[in-house]
């Protein structure tokens, strides 16, 4: 059996679970949850430095970007212009080229604006960014993103932070069939079984934030997600049996008394 590597933009990663760093009670909890999750990529956002309170804790003091890959995102951006500005700044902080693009279309469901997203993907790719793209679970759009040079396709399972789980398994399967790019379910996962399910559908990875950060016991959920992603992947590559409608006895009738 060949080695099951997880590669994005020519870089090898050990964990197929990517975690977000938002919504935690504090930085310490966030750092501990990440450690427990085993993730080696975390998403981070770009925001103004608080100039009136200089003592505020900084993310980089808790999560070492030399040990964990920071994946800057464009959370909160509603236009291509805003997203490009954000990622150019992110790159400037210290050479981050691997980024997560998300251009939102409206505030209520946080669905992506795919026209703006596609436009941004084209521009960022030309500027040398490696763009992992948050998108709808639409196979046609996924193909367009791939043609525009995306480094990973990241369809939603359900609205961001909803915890509704995978709403359209068929679309994810179709996207899986049509692309060799890393396919990562981003948004909507609520519990570990759903992360496993995404992996069993053939996804290469899962991105989870709220389901861990807002769980009653975030560290335990972080571990559950880690195990679920591993189990789901193992299950997928093991080649499941074909489902049949009737029973098939596990025990031979030979020698029956």
């Amino acid at each position: 059996m060949k080695k099951d590597n997880f590669i994005i933009a020519n870089k090898k990663f050990s964990s197929r679970l990517i975690v977000g760093t938002g919504k935690y009670k504090n930085m310490l909890e966030c750092a501990q949850a990440i450690k427990t999750s085993g993730a080696d990529i975390v998403t981070v956002a770009v925001r103004r430095v608080n100039i009136s309170d200089k003592s505020k804790p900084r993310l980089m003091d808790f999560i070492d970007p030399k040990k964990i890959t920071y994946l800057p995102n464009t959370a909160g951006c509603f236009t291509s212009k805003e997203a490009l500005r954000t990622l150019r700044l992110a790159r400037e902080i210290g050479g981050w080229k691997l980024v997560k693009l998300e251009v939102l279309g409206e505030k209520k469901n946080l669905f992506p604006d795919m026209i703006e997203t596609l436009k941004s993907t084209e521009i960022l790719t030309k500027e040398g960014f490696k763009v992992m793209v948050y998108c709808n679970d639409d196979p046609l759009m996924a193909r367009r993103l791939e043609n525009a040079g995306a480094s990973a396709i990241m369809p939603l399972a359900a609205p961001i932070g909803s915890g509704l789980g995978i709403q359209n398994k068929v679309n994810l399967k179709i996207i899986r069939k049509q692309t060799k790019l890393p396919l990562i379910v981003d948004a909507g996962i609520g519990q570990a079984s759903e992360a496993a399910e995404a992996m069993e559908l053939g996804c290469d990875g899962v991105l989870v934030n709220t389901a861990i950060a807002k769980a009653k016991y975030p560290y335990q959920m972080a571990e559950a997600m880690k195990l679920a992603v591993k189990a789901g992947r193992k299950s997928f590559i093991s080649g499941r049996i074909k489902p049949i409608l009737f029973g098939s006895a596990s025990t031979s009738n030979k020698g029956i008394i």
Partner: protein, 72 residues
Amino acid sequence: MNKKNKIKIIVNGKQIMVNAKFSIKNVIDKLKMPISKVAIELNREIVNKKNINKIFLKTGDKVEIVHFIGGG
């Protein structure tokens, strides 16, 4: 305080008074921020961090200093 030698600049949306001949590096130093953890914009243009001691501010300049925070 001699007002003639002061200029008004806007840092992260907040107006502050600084001495004339104040550089972007002076702003960063004043805020006690490690340069390696931020990115800087001057009037919407990204500033090369290597040049910040050579860029002097004038009244009305808008400086944005950003860093990474938790996000999904």
